[in-house]
């Protein structure tokens, strides 16, 4: 029994760290540090999956943990850095909402998610905690998408949302069936590649990747 408690303490710590990494993204104006923070977040996520795999002893979850590590903590950040280098984008992020209000909004979103999840009936305390963290990631990811000007940050926002869902799925139900989980990984990877292609196209045609330029189709 004590082992489980220890495991759940560690889980709580890691989940808290995941939230911290999200705030690193919210609080930074430099593209590289955002990507780095995303890498850290994915790494932490992989360790959550690792712990779940260890405590349940199911091999599929090990596979999922490994895939998270490879795809989300290594390949996707690499794709980001490749894009940033190739299109020589300005390293600073332009914001619609400044850093300090962003951080406050992030905090508010976490509180709201916490109360929202309280209202539904979840089996264990830990699952409920993880689910509220997952809701926070989803809402903060969404906020990042709408408050940052660069197209590349919208891509990062989507990935943060996806990470949030992954956290929810792994802590709530020990992950979806392997086939579904593999499909999701596949879609995320292809999605990132295609968004990358689109960003290159945007850069080529508009000579920058600010989403301000994408406002002609109305009505």
């Amino acid at each position: 029994m004590s082992e489980l408690v220890f495991g759940s303490k560690i889980m709580q710590l890691i989940i808290a760290l995941i939230l911290v990494s999200t705030f690193m993204i919210l609080g930074s104006t430099r593209l590289y540090s955002c990507v780095r923070a995303f890498g850290i977040q994915s790494f932490l996520l992989a360790s959550v999956a690792g712990i779940v795999a260890y405590s349940t002893g199911r091999y599929e979850i090990y596979i999922i943990a490994l895939l998270t590590l490879v795809i989300k903590a290594a390949v996707i950040p690499y794709i980001f850095i490749y894009i940033i280098r190739e299109i020589k984008v300005k390293r600073e992020i332009d914001l619609y909402v400044n850093i300090s209000p962003s951080l406050i909004i992030g905090g508010v979103l976490i509180v709201i998610s916490y109360y929202l999840i309280r209202s539904i009936n979840i089996r264990t305390e830990l699952s409920s905690f993880a689910l509220s963290a997952s809701m926070s990631l989803v809402s903060i990811g969404l906020f990042i998408m709408i408050s940052r000007k660069k197209a590349i940050m919208q891509m990062l926002g989507i990935l943060i949302m996806e990470n949030g869902l992954f956290l929810g799925a792994i802590s709530l139900t020990h992950g979806m069936p392997l086939l579904v989980e593999l499909g999701i990984f596949f879609d995320v990877l292809i999605g990132v590649l295609i968004m990358g292609i689109l960003i290159f196209r945007i850069n080529k045609t508009f000579e920058c990747i600010d989403t301000d330029m994408l406002k002609t189709l109305i009505g």
Binding site: T173, L217, G219
Partner: protein, 484 residues
Amino acid sequence: MIEYLLLAPVITGILCLFTKTRKQVEVVSLTGSIITLLLGLILVVQVYRYDIIISWQNALFADAFSAFIVLIVSIVGFVASIYSTGYMGHELEHRIIDLRKLRIYYALFHVFMFTMLLVGVTNNLGLWIAIEMTTLVSALLMILYSRKSSIEAAWKYMIICTVGITFALFGTILTYYASVNILGETGEALNWTSLLAVADQFDPAIMRLAFIFILIGYGTKAGLAPMHTWLPDAHSEAPTPVSALLSGVLLNCAMYGIIRFNTIASRSTGTEFSSNLLIVFGLLSIGIAVPFILLQEDYKRLLAYSSVEHMGIVALGIGFGGIFGVFGAILHMFNHAMTKSFMFFGAGNVLLKHKTKEIDKVSGTLKSMPFTGPMLIIGGLAITGSPPFSIFISEFTILAAGFSRGYIVSSVLFLLFIIIIFAGFFYHISRMVLGVPKPEIKTGEVSRWMLGAMAVLIVFMFVLGVYIPPYFYEMLMKVVNVVR
């Protein structure tokens, strides 16, 4: 059986990449889509006979509703590939695209077909994966022309739909959680067949939350207001045959996801909760389309907003429920697919000839385009729900369901909206077909292929308007039984 149906478009797509000339790529694509159509029809017949087909270790399955989606995908896909031969051929001749792009176009076209077929035949909530794949492939099709506007449209489409789909994934996870509590953690816990059997034991609080997320998520993809903002951009900027697929088929695929979940959720929460949500979103979609259709200046966007309206009508029909409501909604999915593709094809003919999407700059097509002009009038009548065309039947059924089940206010609003839309739509169509043709436009049609594609669709629009064949009727009733 199902595997072959899925393999056919993939193989065709790959073969398209290895062709050398325009002739070759067209032959490969046409042959491929005929094979896909035949396999689709065989699947429909088999499902008609055995009710449910399962294959590939339970991962793929087809019941009447799946078969129905497969039917829509393969018919419209087949017709769109005929149309593509004329349309993309014309683009090639005028050096708007080169042979390399033509190959990529056909390859993506068939992969797109594959993803949509996959939506129909996936035996679990992993349906999500297939729907996300449709977004990815169609975004690539949209940037085939490297115009500023199409890149903008593709980016918006990609971002908004991916976010929407992420919400749907959250709903899926919640549903899985609800089902795991009953079935235990097996791969089976996500399968339709096993879900349906135990859906009434699911925790209603969780299912309510799940259904909201699903409705918002797949609703984004289905173009329900207020999440429809990407739709007019995407559907008007894509190459015309793709617009037809997006409007006619892809929206139905997303709707399919919503309807499946509605079936599961309503077993646990009672029908009232999901019905009310569907009615609200449905009415909102129809209502929002009204001003945009009245004041529209771009004819492809006009058709796109009309798709928002029609998806609203389908949602409304499902929301009204009962045999008639669901029957009307399902029939409407089919009729809308046929009629809207037909309209997009007509718009494509006009676009190739006039090189503009502005309604103001097109006039007198009745004289300058002896086939397309009359077809636009027929299509305009059909899409706005006038008799004797098929959409009239399905809209009338839904309306009857609404009145008979006591949703008086919603039904009256619905009736009011479609009357205004009829007037607005017809005003725009008449501006395009009547009057004197622009002097620089020569009389004549662009390509016979394109006319052939439209001729196939008009059969469906006419026949289903006056008579529903008994086999088709029985199939629809099977779908209704699966869905209710």
